[in-house]
Symmetry: C2
Subunit: 250 residues, 2 copies
């Protein structure tokens, strides 16, 4: 898999890792992420569930799952630095931390009731292989709940606001049909992520056997904007989508 089209592990880049540490979601965990209330509302009851977190980062969600009474929690990340930080931040829990590349991940069949992933899957060059793996790993009735960057956000080759003639901020969508790599400069030069259409995400899930439960093209609530006016522009176009899918009960 070591080729130029491979998924990038930017999180082990020291400059990126240092920048990432400054984010509210890094410093304050789940409550530092404005989409967390919406994503949480999509989750099943976690008590006694076997939970896998793909791209677990600092391990905030894994610790949340433990606190909710999950039977077992596995946090998987491709970044050694992230896993090291997650271990440092975790005490008195038996979370299993696993180093793996999500593009080549294998999981035991029937090992999980919930697979969760926050803002990791848009780095993957291929998504269909992973969805197939997750379908087999989930028990019938089990759920996949994840967030990823929205294709409206990732489509342009250069991501940034433009202003309409009346001065209103607009997000300049172009190249929507051209799926594949997009380069951004986010804490480091040349961060590679992958643009794929919302239809491609959804059809890949269906092709793997999942049934779609809910999708949320997330935007801030009025209360969130009142609390943090900088969030207002997130109403203009969705930066993220949240999705819940189910392996049908047998």
């Amino acid at each position: 898999m070591a080729n130029s089209h491979n998924t990038q592990n930017i999180y082990d880049d020291p400059q990126f890792f240092a920048g990432y540490a400054t984010l509210a979601r890094s410093q304050h965990g789940l409550d530092g992420a404005p989409e967390w209330p919406a994503l949480r509302a999509m989750l099943p009851e976690l008590s006694a569930k076997r939970v896998v977190d793909l791209g677990c980062g600092y391990g905030w969600f894994c610790r949340f799952a433990v606190a909710q009474g999950a039977a077992s929690v596995t946090g998987i990340d491709v970044s050694h630095k992230m896993l090291e930080k997650a271990r440092e931040m975790t005490t008195h829990s038996d979370i299993v931390w696993q180093h793996a590349d999500l593009e080549t991940l294998t999981l035991p069949v029937n090992c999980a009731d919930l697979v969760y992933s926050s803002l990791a899957l848009h780095y993957l060059t291929r998504i269909d292989r992973l969805f197939h793996t997750l379908f087999e790993a989930l028990t019938p009735g089990g759920m996949l709940v994840f967030s990823a960057e929205h294709p409206i956000y990732t489509a342009p080759l250069r991501q940034g606001w433009l202003h309409a003639p009346d001065g209103h901020p607009t997000w300049p969508v172009s190249h929507y049909q051209q799926e594949g790599v997009r380069i951004s400069n986010w804490f480091a030069e040349g961060v590679r992520k992958q643009h794929r259409k919302l239809a491609t995400w959804i059809n890949a899930l269906i092709a793997s056997g999942f049934e779609l439960v809910q999708i949320d093209e997330w935007g801030p609530s009025a209360a969130q904007i009142a609390d943090n006016p900088a969030l207002a522009e997130e109403s203009e176009r969705p930066m993220l989508f949240l999705l819940a899918a189910r392996r049908p009960a047998a």
Copy 2:
């Protein structure tokens, strides 16, 4: 239902009706619509099926269904002018033409194997009531296949291309989270259509009991662009989406 939020029947406006008649899809029927091959590929076999077409317009799809051996075909439209034109263009077939407003439509339960709709549903102010009606009208295993304007296209309050600093055409997305009426000037002043998020369309289908089968954020193929270079800009952002959903088999 006669209030200012009501669905607009612009097709009975003489100026609009005359302008609409000049479209390739009006003059050449299904083959004049570049998305038709993709939409057709989503359809089940029509032979011996009971077919309902919502917003049937000139009746091109109804006649196609008859030619494919459908057992019965009902074409429904809110525009008297459209239905009159459909009748004029139809000979030797027993299509039932029905005048109805899709916002208040009622259908017998279990009356259809396929409900089809092309570019009509984005005029509706409410979609959940209709989806519920269609679910009940479809036989278990029956399908709903429709196209509508894509929310990327409908989101901006003023729809039109902007150019990025490098001159590339971009579609200026804004107000994405603000669902509701959008006014455009398309053959007539003040054409009212409704912007709703893709998530809203999908979640409304799921809430009505449908399972999603496939979604296509349609764009032209390379061959179509070679044949008609004006289609190239349709690759920059999807103007339409095509969707197939199923009432699960009992």
